[in-house]
């Protein structure tokens, strides 16, 4: 296929309008084409918006029961091993770089009410730390001394709820701060250091926070 034409297939791909061999060919192209990768997300969103148009009957209640029964029985034999979720595909590199730029801006834009010490500490961690995926659109940056900063693109916490951070080491799970996320991208400094081999967890809890997590939604691998 001519190179200038294959870019156009990004739309047909987003609409699921390619046959099997065209789809394979385009996916190979997509893996190496930054231009198409940049475009696919927005076009997928636009295609998915078409899903809202059909006006049909509500699904039968029995379908819900059947789906949940299947889910319950499912042995998850096809599940991606947990470990793999922690690896960052090469494709994500640009997004991570962009997120890093956003973090730097966010530090300087962060509220004047936070103490200068805190800002300096955050800046030090961001400058020298290692970035690890926390899941749920969030990342942890850990400095060499164990100080850690969380940067999250999560929206505001549900009404009456807060996001709570945890430092986890073996059976030992300790609260490490709350954030409600008014401004996505603002860095949050953990209130305790992360020891060698410890994890950082993120949960959603009732406002005010709790002593032990109930709804863990993200967790890093062990940090070294």
């Amino acid at each position: 296929m001519e190179q200038e034409l294959i870019h156009e297939l990004v739309a047909a791909y987003a609409l699921d309008a390619l046959d099997d061999s065209e789809q394979r060919e385009f996916e190979e192209h997509l893996a190496g084409c930054e231009q198409c990768r940049a475009e696919i997300e927005g076009l997928r969103d636009a295609a998915a918006a078409l899903a809202y148009v059909p006006e049909g009957p509500a699904p039968p209640p029995a379908l819900r029961e059947r789906v949940l029964e299947r889910v319950h029985e499912d042995q998850r034999s096809n599940v991606v091993p947990l470990r793999r979720r922690y690896t960052l595909p090469a494709v994500a590199t640009f997004a991570v770089a962009a997120a890093a730029a956003a973090i730097v801006l966010a530090v300087w834009a962060s509220s004047l009410s936070s103490s200068l010490d805190r800002k300096v500490e955050i800046a030090k961690v961001l400058a020298s730390g290692t970035r690890v995926a926390l899941g749920t659109g969030s990342q942890v940056v850990v400095g060499p001394d164990g100080h850690a900063v969380v940067v999250s693109s999560l929206g505001r916490a549900p009404a009456g709820k807060t996001y709570e951070l945890w430092v986890i080491q073996g059976e030992n799970v300790r609260p490490a701060g709350l954030f409600a996320q008014g401004k996505p991208g603002s860095p949050v400094l953990l209130s305790r250091r992360v020891p060698q081999g410890g994890h950082v967890g993120l949960s959603i809890e009732k406002s005010g926070g709790v002593d032990q997590p109930t709804h863990i939604v993200g967790e890093t691998p062990p940090l070294t």
Binding site: G56, P59, A92
Partner: protein
């Protein structure tokens, strides 16, 4: 499972949790950790739209139910591979539903010649009133954006998306060259994206 190992008692979500108001991303993360209640909440949020879409494409209740069931099972099994920095959860879920429905219709060859008219009487039961209002607002916005596309671009998008036709089938159906179809879909979908962005349709569905 990792969380069970590292987290002491109380960390495992029970079946009675109330996930109302949780962001989609968080529900997917919980589903990836085998939390069935989180999957149930996602089902309650998206099954109405999913079923309407599947029914439009496959034109058969039993097949539409199969498509929705398989799609949500895929959500359950692959929630751990969802990456929130690369896609919106709603797009991801609805893409899985669409793919599954298109697979079904291509396999069953139950495609109809005129896939855009003659849907059943809408049955508005099954969703909370505010969710129902939001869904119809959203429907109206998308319909409005579609109306603003040139006819031949709208036709190409609708036949591809709701008809489950491949680009080659589309070219044949409309008796136009394949290259023309590609351009119509490409230009049309880009324009739709821009129109939807102008209309402000990039917020997630309210997490009710």
């Amino acid at each position: 499972m990792m969380n069970l190992r590292v987290l002491p008692g109380g960390a495992r979500p029970s079946a009675s949790r109330d996930y109302t108001g949780f962001p989609d991303e968080a529900l997917l993360a919980l589903a990836a950790r085998e939390d069935e209640e989180a999957l149930a909440q996602l089902y309650d949020r998206y099954s109405r739209i999913a079923y309407g879409l599947a029914l439009r494409i496959v034109r058969d209740q039993a097949l539409a139910e199969d498509a929705v069931q398989e799609a949500f099972l895929t959500v359950w099994r692959t929630a751990g591979s969802f990456r929130s920095d690369r896609a919106k959860p709603s797009t991801w879920i609805l893409t899985l539903v669409h793919r599954r429905a298109v697979d079904v219709v291509r396999r069953e060859e139950r495609r109809r010649a005129a896939p855009l008219e003659g849907t059943e009487e809408p049955d508005e039961r099954g969703l909370a009133a505010d969710q129902e209002i939001e869904l119809s607002d959203r429907r109206r916005l998308v319909q409005e954006a579609l109306r603003r596309l040139p006819d031949e671009q709208r036709e190409a998008l609708e036949l591809a998306y709701y008809g489950g036709l491949t680009q080659s089938e589309l070219a044949e159906r409309l008796s136009v060259p394949l290259g023309t179809i590609k351009s119509r879909m490409f230009t049309g979908l880009r324009r739709l994206r821009d129109l939807l962005a102008e209309a402000g349709l990039d917020e997630p569905l309210a997490e009710l």
